[in-house]
């Protein structure tokens, strides 16, 4: 009925969705959309995300024969750090491209590279709800996420059992207790891929999240003001935590995801009990099995997840969580079909398919029922019940200040810097912006 009404409506400003408005706008003239995303094949040659996007594009073009979609799959860091910035500079940017939100997106929006989607996709923005916030600048929407989730601690229940830990830690004191029990049982308590920088930095983010109030963090994203003592406090808490020696030896030589000696490899192979990571690590761990269904099932049997434990004191909400996601933006000069296709990508059905085919955590609330895995359900549940979800701090602050922050945090792990050093590095980087 609704569809019929929309079609027969003669009022172009009517309540019909943006999809109707845009496809009517340019008629059936042939249109080519270029699409850059980060769904590339992994070590095993499998590429469930890239394959799913291929299918989504094919389904869309079948419905819209005048649209041709040219896809380029590009490795994440190449895409984010070199390909997209240079493409935007050159004025010959892809129509639809990966967007991580936060400070970097704000800079792109300020430079006038991004299509304002607030009006055209208002219905979709409302449907997706609060998860869109990191893709908005001052209330204007410049991109839409297809995935969003909080991070937490992955652990091996069998190792917890071996060490005599009976319950998932919910406070830092309980986590410290669990760490001690694991050490007593000669098990590496926590693996961290500090060689890559960001996995180490995420520990600091979580301390800052609980130490700083929501406003302080949110304002820092635009004001780049780090004078609040909570930023220093985050580093002090991290120093204390590292002082309890919870991590594997030589953690600054450990990468996050590649090889059996990586932090993920250690957890997957039962060499370490815990790791602080995003939901994607579920699939990284699977990559360390032989790929057979039995092996993956066996891993799932002995792999679980709990939210980052609450810290004591601090101005932040104890149930606040760090999180992040992936989305897409349209280039400012892209054809209107770009917005329409983006609306299709985040439509409830395609989001459901995304959860089923890729195992991702969709943003559309209606697609939540497509998550069947109990651990992923737990993560989705934590994401929606958190007091607030703070976007990854390095994404929030953008590459310049965020990069300086990460480097400063790694220096704490290295023993070459301290809590004050992180704040100083952030202030110095902010002064160059």
């Amino acid at each position: 009925m609704a569809l019929l009404a929309a079609c027969s409506s003669s009022d172009p400003e009517g309540p019909g969705t943006s999809a109707d408005a845009t496809s009517g706008g340019s008629g059936d003239a042939p249109v080519t959309l270029t699409w850059w995303h980060n769904g590339v094949a992994g070590d095993t040659g499998e590429n469930s995300l890239g394959d799913y996007w291929d299918k989504v594009a094919a389904d869309y073009t079948a419905e819209h024969p005048n649209v041709t979609i040219e896809i380029e799959q590009i490795q994440n860091e190449d895409l984010q750090r070199t390909r997209i910035p240079t493409a935007l500079q050159s004025g010959d940017a892809p129509d639809l491209f990966q967007q991580w939100g936060g400070g970097e997106m704000a800079a792109q929006a300020e430079a006038g590279y991004l299509m304002d989607l607030s009006e055209t996709l208002s219905a979709d923005i409302e449907r997706l709800g609060g998860g869109v916030a990191p893709w908005q600048v001052d209330g204007t929407t410049y991109g839409l996420p297809f995935q969003f989730a909080v991070e937490g601690i992955w652990y091996r229940p069998s190792l917890f059992e071996e060490a005599g830990i009976t319950a998932e830690p919910t406070t830092m004191a309980e986590l410290a207790d669990a760490v001690q029990k694991l050490k007593d049982a000669d098990i590496v308590p926590i693996a961290v891929g500090a060689s890559d920088g960001w996995p180490a930095a995420h520990w600091w983010y979580n301390f800052a999240l609980r130490s700083c109030s929501q406003d302080v963090v949110a304002n820092a994203g635009t004001s780049l003001d780090f004078t609040d003592p909570c930023w220093l406090d985050a580093g002090t808490q991290l120093e204390d935590f590292i002082g309890t020696e919870p991590f594997q030896p030589q953690f600054t030589s450990t990468v996050a995801q590649t090889g059996a000696t990586s932090s993920a490899g250690m957890v997957a192979n039962g060499k370490a009990a815990m790791e602080l990571m995003g939901q994607w690590n579920y699939f990284v761990y699977e990559g360390f099995t032989d790929g057979s269904e039995e092996a993956i099932a066996a891993l799932h049997e002995d792999l679980d997840w709990f939210p980052m434990p609450a810290t004591e004191g601090g101005s932040g909400d104890p149930s606040a969580a760090m999180g992040g996601g992936d989305g897409f933006s349209c280039y400012v000069d892209a054809p209107v079909e770009c917005a329409d296709f983006l609306a299709y990508i985040v439509s409830d059905d395609v989001q459901r398919g995304y959860a089923e085919a890729v195992g991702g955590l969709p943003v559309a609330p209606a697609a939540a029922d497509a998550i069947t895995d109990p651990v992923l359900q737990k993560i989705a549940q934590t994401t929606s019940s958190a007091a607030y979800v703070q976007l990854w701090m390095d994404t929030l602050l953008g590459p310049n200040v965020g990069g300086a922050m990460n480097d400063g945090i790694v220096n704490i792990f290295n023993g070459t810097g301290d809590a004050q050093g992180v704040v100083d590095a952030m202030i110095a980087a902010a002064a160059t912006a």
């Binding site: 750090r81 070199t82 910035p85 935007l88 500079q89 970097e104 800079a107 792109q108 300020e110 430079a111 006038g112 590279y113 500090a194 060689s195 920088g197 030896p249 030589q250 600054t252 030589s253 450990t254 990468v255 090889g259 000696t261 953008g398 590459p399 310049n400 990069g403 300086a404 480097d407 790694v410 220096n411 792990f413 290295n414 023993g415 070459t416 810097g417 050093g421 100083d424 590095a425 202030i427 110095a428 980087a429 002064a431 160059t432 912006a433």
Partner: protein
């Protein structure tokens, strides 16, 4: 390295052609000589033109662009036309923390110190290469400079690391020097251990681990160059010296080494320029180290320019690197290589 090589190669024919034209005697223009002149210039254009176009497009234009970017505060995302012109402030930030007294202290710690640390690593690698690679390469080359079974095979083995791609070699050493890797096992089997912070990330030993890998990677080139030089030394001289009663060492010291002097000087030149521009290996290992334990100017430039999106500052670092390579290359050519270039036949 490519920029300089390209500049060296393309510049010399250009210089030759202009000097040749300049020294051409002025004679009354006859039809014959005019046609010859046109032809000569056509030939010059034909042979130098393509190289010149490539040189201008891929060397001169990027260098000029980087020099331009380096004068602006620019994050690489915003339109360059909106970037703020700040003169030489990016250079000042790298060299001594900038001229603004408010931020100078913070910038010295955050920007100037890492820059000088990276540069000091480059300088250390230059001198260590001379002190370590040169003697090793000479001894090996002199030892191998004779006929024996498996000579070709030995040469291939020695040259193999140099031929191996930097990425593959770097990944291999990452596996060997993993905290749980074979190098650690070896050390433990003799009762020692890896450096406290890990092979690459230890504050003191990280640089030496990387220097070891660089030596392994590049000493083969020196050996092959020296062997090629030695093969050009006439055997008559060595036989004559042997008849006169010279020992093996005397023959090497008095005859072979002096006669491959030009080769050694060229190798040193390549080594110095390569050390200044060292990038691939340190980047593959882990972007110069988590705390810049083995950073170089090139890895620092990449880190700040691309990964921190500080393009103006990164461009300033690039220009400093270019300037250093350029000045050192010119100085080396004007002093040390001069004797080889001025009288090529005599030096031989």
């Amino acid at each position: 390295m490519t920029a300089l090589e390209a500049s060296g190669r393309s510049a010399s024919p250009a210089v030759d052609s202009s000097s040749a034209a300049g020294s051409r005697p002025v004679t009354p223009a006859s039809e014959h000589t005019r046609r010859a002149t046109v032809r000569k210039w056509a030939e010059i254009a034909l042979f130098v033109g393509p190289a010149m176009v490539l040189f201008l497009t891929f060397v001169v234009y990027p260098v000029v662009s980087a020099a331009r970017f380096s004068l602006y505060k620019w994050n690489g995302v915003s339109q360059f036309s909106d970037a703020e012109f700040i003169g030489l402030e990016n250079y000042a930030r790298a060299l001594f923390g900038g001229t603004d007294p408010v931020t100078q202290q913070a910038f010295t710690t955050a920007y100037s110190q890492p820059f000088w640390e990276a540069l000091s690593h480059n300088v250390a690698i230059i001198f260590l290469s001379m002190a370590v690679q040169l003697p090793i390469a000479l001894i090996v080359a002199l030892t191998l400079n004779r006929r024996f079974r498996g000579r070709a095979f030995t040469r291939v083995v020695i040259f193999a690391p140099y031929v191996l791609s930097e990425v593959i070699a770097g990944t291999m050493w990452l596996i060997i020097f993993d905290p749980n890797g074979i190098a650690t096992e070896l050390m433990r089997s003799v009762g020692l251990d890896m450096p406290a912070g890990g092979w690459f990330e230890d504050q003191t030993w990280g640089f030496w681990t990387v220097f070891f890998i660089i030596t392994w990677k590049y000493v083969g080139l020196a050996i092959i160059l020296f062997l090629a030089g030695l093969s050009g030394v006439s055997e008559d001289l060595q036989e004559a010296a042997a008849i006169d009663g010279a020992s093996w060492w005397q023959i090497q010291w008095r005859i072979n080494i002096p006669l491959i002097g030009p080769t050694i000087r060229i190798w040193a030149f390549l080594s110095i320029i390569g050390s200044i521009q060292l990038f691939d290996m340190v980047w593959v290992l882990n972007r110069g180290g988590t705390a810049g334990q083995y950073s170089t100017i090139a890895s620092y430039m990449m880190e700040i320019g691309f990964f921190r999106a500080d393009w103006g500052y990164g461009s300033a670092i690039a220009v400093i690197m270019f300037f250093l390579s350029f000045v050192i290359a010119l100085a080396y050519m004007a002093t040390i290589l001069r004797r080889d270039n001025a009288h090529p036949r005599k030096a031989r």
